[in-house]
Amino acid sequence: MIQQDQLLQVTNLNIIFPSPKGDVHAVKDISFSLGKEKIGLVGESGSGKSVTGRAILRLLPPYAKVSAEEISFKGQDLLSFSEKELRCIRGKEISMVMQDPKYSLNPVRTVGQQISEAYIVHSKVSKSVAREQTLKMLTAVRIRNPEQVYKLYPHEVSGGMGQRIMIAMMLIPEPSLLIADEPTSALDVTVQLQVLAILDDLVTQRGMGLIFISHDLELVASFCDRVIIMYGGRIMEVINAADLHNSTHPYTRGLLNCLPRIEGRNERLSTLVRDDAWLDADFWHSNDSDGIII
């Protein structure tokens, strides 16, 4: 992978959720960097991938303890930013598409109002200019009748349409980094591919960085440039998507082996093996890991 001009650098990110039963260490010492590329963040439920995405936007609930050596975006240290400075980054520079448009759109506002709001927040323009831009953006996500959709309420659109609206809303201020948090998990399989194609096109056209959070290894492998495999709040491996099937890491191998294949259907699928030793930081250092080079 050619390292283009760097967008995001995360070094030793830790996220802890205090709870009465003891602290939950959701993310432990993870580091990665990102250029104008598509990077996949893969892991099981609870591996800390969504939380990582939210921590970059500094949008975790206030009780979450986030610490890191560095979270910098285009050379600016996001950790030192005030709430007001962060608002100029959110949407404008880094945006996020969430899982289910049924919940992530405001039920009492029209689609058009919500998309143009995203535009108006960052560029102080009149409503009619924002409307024009919104209609253009709706067309860009391949909605054929933008004028009509503009006036609809979220409950009046389908899941696939909703997610396209969400993408339009998040891309309208032209951010340089998009975090897509399982953007297709709530959709039908056929619609999934359409939405992915749109996302892929727009991200490539605009030369943006993309963090694609998913639990679907195959999907990520076909869609992204690089893949980060997470387990138990740690990064297990960072690997080029093309090399994924040649991975030697036991966890990645385990994940790959769990996937059913059309050929060889008579075999029993293997169970995922999880080794607690992987969660130990020293394990990787003592092995002189070649997995965590980022």
């Binding site: 959110r90 405001n106 039920p107 009492v108 927040v121 809303m169």
Partner: protein
């Protein structure tokens, strides 16, 4: 084709409205049936109330027949129904005037009080509830919850007496009971029945200020109770909404926090709050009986109490029907508002 569709939709809407009206009619009929039955069940002899206990048996019987009390119950109910629909609730024994007229006279005083109290409840209760929800577990949240809890649990007559003792008797900051000071009484001819409006219409500004001054204590006290209810409901609605994912969406977009709270979250709370405010307004109309008694406020509550104490059944039942109908009306109104504001309910 489109014409056909709009026609179909029109038919559907008409059917919906018809269904709605039918439901209202049935509810109203139920209300009348209950008041009628109560009127027949209570151990007060309406004939005796008219002829007095020294009347002879003959006079008594004649009065009974004249009042239609010898007819079967269902016929009595039909007569009652038709007279109520004509706005005839009978004559009050106490005032010797038609009950309907009496209610028209006293009701504006209650409305004035309930209206101001609800305004207080809305403008204090809603911001308090929103702030409590946003700063959940904070100092202000605890304060507002204690204040709200007191509003829920303190008896209003006690608080009213205490307030009168402190602000009127001891400190002399606020005027005592009544709608205006005694020497202003009866100067303004009632047009609307609302003292504040009538005094402006008459150009009597001194009376306007005096009436407003008199309203402060009872309206604030009543308002305190509706504020307690409204702020509590607002808080729980807001907590629920702030948890939703569209709030995260708004924050991701970079929307300012006050807009996230008041624009996005509160926009979704406003819909259920319509019902809360409407119900608390309705409750004030019937529930200000105690307050009106203590503040000698010549409203529906006081009228109702006096009628009750004097076994004036026509007046009691008439007032009950009026309060019930208003409650019904408020419910209908809030249902309609719901449909206007919630795109999902259309």
């Amino acid at each position: 084709m489109t014409q056909f569709l709009t026609q179909k939709r029109l038919k559907k809407t008409a059917l919906k409205i018809l269904k709605f009206l039918l439901m209202v009619a049935i509810t109203f009929l139920g209300l009348l049936l209950i008041t009628f039955l109560i009127g027949r069940v209570v151990p007060i002899d309406p004939v005796l109330a008219v002829v007095g206990d020294k009347a002879s048996h003959e006079v008594y019987e004649r009065a009974r027949i004249a009042m239609g009390l010898n007819l079967p119950l269902w016929q009595q109910f039909l007569i009652y129904l038709s007279s109520v629909l004509r706005g005839d609730f009978g004559t009050s024994v106490l005032t010797a005037k038609p009950v309907f007229e009496d209610i028209l006279r006293v009701f504006p005083a209650t409305m004035e009080l309930a209206f101001l109290a609800t305004l207080f409840g809305i403008f204090v209760g809603i911001p308090l509830g929103v702030i409590s929800a946003v700063k959940r577990g904070g100092f202000l949240d605890h304060v507002s919850r204690v204040v709200g809890l007191l509003g829920y649990s303190l008896p209003i007559f006690w608080l009213a007496l205490l307030a009168l003792m402190i602000f009127y008797a001891k400190l002399d900051l606020l005027p005592g009971p009544g709608r205006v000071d005694v020497f202003y009484d009866g100067i303004v001819t009632p047009v609307t029945g609302f003292m504040l409006i009538d005094s402006i219409l008459a150009g009597e500004w001194e009376i306007f200020w005096n009436a407003l001054y008199h309203l402060i204590m009872p309206a604030t006290l009543l308002g305190y109770f509706s504020m307690a209810y409204i702020s509590r409901m607002t808080r729980s609605f807001m907590i629920e909404q702030l948890r939703q994912e569209y709030i995260l969406t708004a924050r991701v977009k970079g929307v300012a926090e006050w807009k996230v709270i008041w624009g996005h979250a509160f926009g979704n709370c406003a819909i259920p709050l319509i019902t809360v405010v409407a119900l608390s307004f309705g409750a004030l109309l019937e529930g200000s009986v105690l307050t009106e008694t203590i503040f000698a406020w010549p409203g529906l509550g006081l009228y109702l109490t006096n009628s009750l104490l004097n076994a004036d059944m026509n007046a009691v039942l008439g007032s009950t029907i009026v309060v019930g109908s208003i409650f019904l009306g408020i419910n209908i109104f809030s249902d309609i508002l719901y449909k206007v504001f919630d795109p999902r309910a259309r």
